[in-house]
């Protein structure tokens, strides 16, 4: 159980961090950038909110299949493949929530900082600090989505005991074996983790006010 919980947290946390590193700069570009191209990214973020994990799992499994385009990397059924899949799943959620977060800031704040002659890199840092509690909340939402998904984890990880078995895939297996007690245990832990993530998000957002 401990191993499964640890891998679940590690994979989902890694996916969330990588997803945030990719999505947050995109959100900054959408909110503070210029030109219309940035709205295409917003469309990608918003459309991706409904992205079925099983579709992502299928794509990653196809890419990393032994005879697939990226098969030579031998990544299928590894935690890394699961991280890649979950990263793709969480990027739209983190990105769109980050856009909302940045838009809650006073829209003239970047302009007013610029009007004080504060360097662009410093302004970016200050705005990031300003939005951090909201961005943290979007990251926690991403973590919740990553750790709760099962389709991509199953297809890219293969639910190999001791290697790629996470809470959701372990639950599926337990139900398949009619071991409902174990399945409920896994789900209880999963719900507990999500509650912690949700509670942390609430605390972070409360600190913004």
């Amino acid at each position: 159980m401990v191993e499964i919980v640890a891998l679940s947290i590690t994979v989902s946390l890694a996916a969330t961090l990588v997803g945030a590193m990719l999505a947050v700069p995109g959100a900054f570009w959408i909110v503070y950038g210029r030109g219309k191209a940035r709205y295409a990214l917003l469309v990608v973020f918003n459309a991706g909110l409904g992205l079925p994990p099983v579709a992502v799992g299928l794509a990653i499994a196809f890419l990393f299949w032994r005879s697939g385009p990226l098969g030579r990397f031998d990544l299928l059924y590894t935690p890394l493949a699961m991280v890649i899949a979950q990263t793709i799943i969480v990027i739209p959620l983190i990105g769109s929530l980050a856009v909302v977060a940045l838009r809650t800031l006073d829209v003239t704040l970047p302009l007013q900082l610029e009007a004080l002659g504060i360097a662009r890199s410093v302004r970016r840092r200050l705005l990031l600090r300003e939005a951090l509690p909201y961005l943290g909340a979007s990251g926690l939402a991403g973590f919740g989505r990553a750790i709760a998904e099962v389709g991509a984890a199953q297809m890219t990880g293969g639910n190999i005991e001791g290697q790629t078995r996470v809470l959701t895939t372990a639950t599926m297996l337990a139900v398949g074996k009619a071991d409902f007690g174990l399945a409920f245990d896994y789900v209880a832990v999963l719900l507990g983790l999500m509650a912690v993530a949700g509670g942390a998000a609430v605390v972070l957002q409360a600190r913004c006010r």
Binding site: D106, L111, Q112, L116
Partner: protein
């Protein structure tokens, strides 16, 4: 170095601003005009904060006080410190605007008048060569307004700073500027010295003077 703008042109959502030439030196420039005449747009364009055609030559250190100041999360002191890059200097500027007692107060919790003062402290902390003010004292207490105008005037005189103020207040014009530009529908209709303000026939300028110096 004075601020010099030539052939300045801005198009924003159906509004067009065209200013062939405007300069601001140590004597200060007041931009007056009705709501929607383009005062704020002109200020933003002069600062290079919005896309504009034309040429604007301005010194390296500029600062601005917006009509609705926005602040970073954190104390009043921290907000000035970001501009001043030094805590002790930040305290001194806070003290200049009468906010030393509110140094530890969250900027978001200050009253609108205090926020205007904080914005002024933050702008002065940059030690600007050109100071842009957009309705800077609109929400400030009447007695504090006098002191703050004096503070800006003395700062500008001591540092050789050019003040460009967009305002609807005759007192701001007289206290901070040597010249007045009347903006109407995105064009400078009149550019005169403050001395000539009272005698000018433009209805807006007459109303501005009349309100500033009401007859007994």
């Amino acid at each position: 170095m004075p601020l010099i703008a030539r052939n300045l042109s801005v198009a924003r959502g159906g509004f067009r601003l065209d200013v062939p030439a405007v300069t601001a030196d140590r004597e200060g420039l007041a931009i007056v005009g009705r709501n929607g005449s383009g005062k704020t747009t002109l200020l933003l364009a002069l600062q290079g904060l919005i896309p504009a055609d034309g040429i604007v030559e301005r010194p390296g250190r500029c600062a601005a006080v917006f009509a609705q100041p926005a602040f970073l999360r954190g104390s009043a002191l921290w907000n000035v410190e970001v501009a001043a890059r030094d805590r002790r200097r930040a305290r001194s500027f806070l003290s200049d605007v009468g906010l030393e007692a509110a140094a530890r107060v969250e900027a978001a919790r200050l009253s609108s008048g205090q926020r205007q003062r904080l914005a002024l402290a933050r702008a002065l902390a940059v030690e600007p060569e050109v100071l842009f003010l957009d309705e800077p004292f609109a929400n400030v207490d009447a007695d504090a307004r006098v002191a703050l105008r004096r503070l800006v005037r003395e700062y500008a005189a001591a540092r050789g700073c050019s003040v460009i103020v967009a305002t609807q207040s005759y007192a701001d014009v007289v206290a901070l500027a040597g010249r007045v530009a009347l903006l109407e529908q995105g064009r400078i209709e009149t550019l005169i010295g403050v001395d000539a303000l009272k005698a000018h026939p433009a209805p807006y300028l007459r109303a501005l003077v009349r309100e500033g110096e009401p007859s007994p």
